[in-house]
Symmetry: C2
Subunit: 446 residues, 2 copies
């Protein structure tokens, strides 16, 4: 039946397409469930879009990077591809089902997307990763801009990550200040300033000079981008740097002030959110508030999630204007880094809280396992009549703390011997009381 | 900013790649979570394999059908494809990570897979669908064969489907009886008998004749395949039909008898499982117990889940023999059919239990929403200061039963007006008591 060894295929996965052993996957799954629960607590329903779409849909917006990174192929006459983000499938979804949705339409989506450069392999970078997106579409209210920050705050709190900060800016503020300074090509200047964290300042100054920005103005641009901190002092500094007041500037400042007030009402603590005037993000898409999020203790991970407000989500698929605001968590990278760094506690290889060992005839063990499960305990039944030592070692390796045994003596007495592998102890308990005993023990000792 | 209408792309999805509106997706997600919970209660940990694999891996086993149905393409120099089931990725996973896994290795997997014939479109058939798999690998104990039935029984019970039956057979039994009847090519005969439900008996008899099976023997084959019901009478009838006793026959009968005893110990009621000697399933893979599951009230849906015992899971990737047993639920089809038939109650478009309306300045509404969420309620905040009637209509459409309002009067009195859209009533409650009031109301009235 088994093929000759010469015809065997080496079992392996594609570079950049990670999969985890059960213990690590248990933690990832717990993260996904926690994130979903927080999103639902804010009233976001889940949607899921297909694993394959028409390339024409996914590439409607264009962009060299998507062209290069997309996994695209022909299927018969159809030109299809794997989604490389969740925003484009959302735009298509909303445009396609517009008449059946209620607006403001909110949704969350947690799915894997694929991005890879076909030309060369960059090891260690994921080409397949989870994104966790929330968006609210069809409302221009700045309240939603604040709500997005509150959602992200609650997500990271629920994940037990204390050390993060959501950094917020507003594209209108940059436009207003740039306009006041007489900068004629704000988009091109923004594109240069967006590289601030990655390139030396001298190089950026040279690029700015190429755009007709003289040294004095460049210094002001750098000073503006250097402003970061609590809304009030930062906005005061912006006002001072901006010079000449204007209607556009006042409107942008008012929007950020409102955001600060709303964040207080949402209960987002000051330490969890700051203004950061260096954030520009995307160049054609975002039109108002923009977000990035960083872990202060892990600056190397970079932005963990990012997003912003846009005027028009789905202009490539519908003539209905769909303004909205959203944010996307790049789950896989942050999860992997924190798990490997030991910041996230290791998961358990088995979800079982208790293992029933098999000694001799199976009937008693099966019944005990069924009884424990009926009481709500996650219970694994060891199937083979191996030596007890072997079974205990298996439980230990799987991270299952309690092992329930029914040898001949216990069977005769209607008892169960329960080993606590963590404490190294064993107790005999009447079978009828076994589930309750385990539940108490687990509740007390965590 | 918006492109000219002429450059718009019609928003659409690929035929056979379903996506649901939020209410339907809410139910599907609840099913997936319920299924996962039951699997974990039996000690199965989750794993997840990549959305793309090497074609060489997925097609190692060969088979014309997989060749025709697989979504396969070149990515640079790499020949890659989308998984068309979860068994092959499992086999690759176990072979690849063998040294890091504990055996018996059990796992569950809930993922979407893709199968499509490239040549022609068959409308209404899914090409992308969820599979929910459990397998236990590395144990030959027949206890596991029974445990799989118990898992499936508990899954359907938890999903609220009362009307199902797991049909079980054993390939060894068929081999033994066929052997006793002197059938020289049992595999070819099995392949014909496997078509029993789809083809008229006369046609099958002609095919059997082509294999040298005369009419009398064909009648016995049909009689054997017609046996279905509780283990004891069915096994007695098999014994009688089989004629000459043999060691192989006795061994196969003993295995099925043990299965029946173990099922009793697992607490699987008689009505939920029956022997069905017509089930053969797969021709090269399964070697012992085989399963199918049907809903008695929806025979048109066909087998909802199926699987069986195999001698060697991963012979294409490793020389280690890996016997095991597993079953796979074809979730998408059964979910879709039952949802559309109204057997599954419709979901709600919003997970929110309460909506806070926005009247005028947002601060009070935001604080109330934050307070309700902190108390564990799923709460949506309507972001725009639209007319109350509009906001109430939105809540109604979204299936949100309670709407909390704070107009000027309520604000001054420190109260919240809560409308119950189901009852058509409204009550004023002190703000500090609002969460508790809602929780009580929901607990009492479901």
């Amino acid at each position: 039946m088994a093929p000759a060894p010469s015809s065997r295929v080496t079992p392996r996965t594609l570079t950049g397409f990670p999969e985890w052993l059960p213990a690590k996957r248990a933690r990832e799954l717990a993260w996904i469930q926690t994130i979903g629960e927080v999103f639902e607590r804010f009233g976001f329903p889940n949607i899921e879009t297909p694993v394959l779409e028409y390339s024409e849909i996914l590439l409607a917006k264009g962009g060299e990077e998507s062209d290069r990174q997309i996994y695209r192929f022909m299927r018969g006459q159809r030109d299809v591809a794997l989604p490389f983000d969740l925003t484009i499938p959302l735009a298509r979804y909303v445009a396609q089902h517009e008449a059946k949705l209620s607006f403001p339409f909110r949704r969350y989506q947690i799915q894997r997307v694929c991005r890879g450069e076909s030309a060369q392999i960059k090891r260690g970078r994921f080409r397949m990763f989870y994104q966790c997106d929330v968006d609210v579409i069809g409302s221009k209210s700045s309240l939603v801009d604040a709500e997005i920050v509150a959602v992200i705050y609650e997500v990271f709190k629920a994940l037990g990550l204390q050390d993060y900060v959501v950094r917020v800016n507003n594209r209108k503020l940059l436009s207003a200040v740039y306009g006041g300074w007489g900068i004629s090509e704000p988009a091109r200047v923004l594109r240069v300033m967006d590289k601030l964290e990655k390139m030396p300042r001298a190089k950026l100054a040279a690029e700015l000079q190429g755009l007709g920005i003289e040294a004095g103005l460049a210094d002001k641009l750098f000073a503006l981008a250097g402003l970061r901190g609590r809304p009030e002092p930062v906005l005061a500094a912006v006002r001072e740097l901006a010079g000449e007041p204007s209607e556009a500037l006042e409107a942008a400042l008012a929007e950020l002030e409102a955001l600060g007030r709303d964040l207080d009402a949402f209960g987002v603590p000051e330490a969890a959110c700051e203004l950061d005037i260096s954030i520009a993000r995307g160049l054609d898409y975002y039109t108002g508030t923009v977000y990035e999020t960083a872990l202060r203790s892990h600056p190397d991970i970079g932005s963990i999630c990012s997003g912003g407000r846009y005027d028009d989500l789905a202009s490539y698929y519908t003539k209905t204007a769909l303004p909205g605001v959203g944010i996307s968590i790049g789950l896989s990278r942050v999860f992997d880094r924190l798990y490997e760094a030991g910041v996230v506690a290791p998961g358990r290889a088995s979800p079982a809280q208790v293992m029933v060992a098999r000694l001799g005839e199976p009937a008693a063990s099966i019944s005990l396992a069924a009884q424990l499960r009926a009481a709500g305990l996650a219970c694994e039944l060891f199937p083979d009549a191996r030596r007890l030592k072997h079974q205990l070692k298996y439980a230990q390796r799987q991270g299952i703390r309690f092992v329930a045994l029914m040898g001949e003596n216990e069977l005769a007495a209607g008892e169960v011997a329960v080993r606590d592998l963590a404490a190294g102890s064993q107790e005999k308990i009447p079978q009828s009381a076994c589930a309750a005993w385990l539940q108490t023990r687990m509740a007390v000792e965590g």
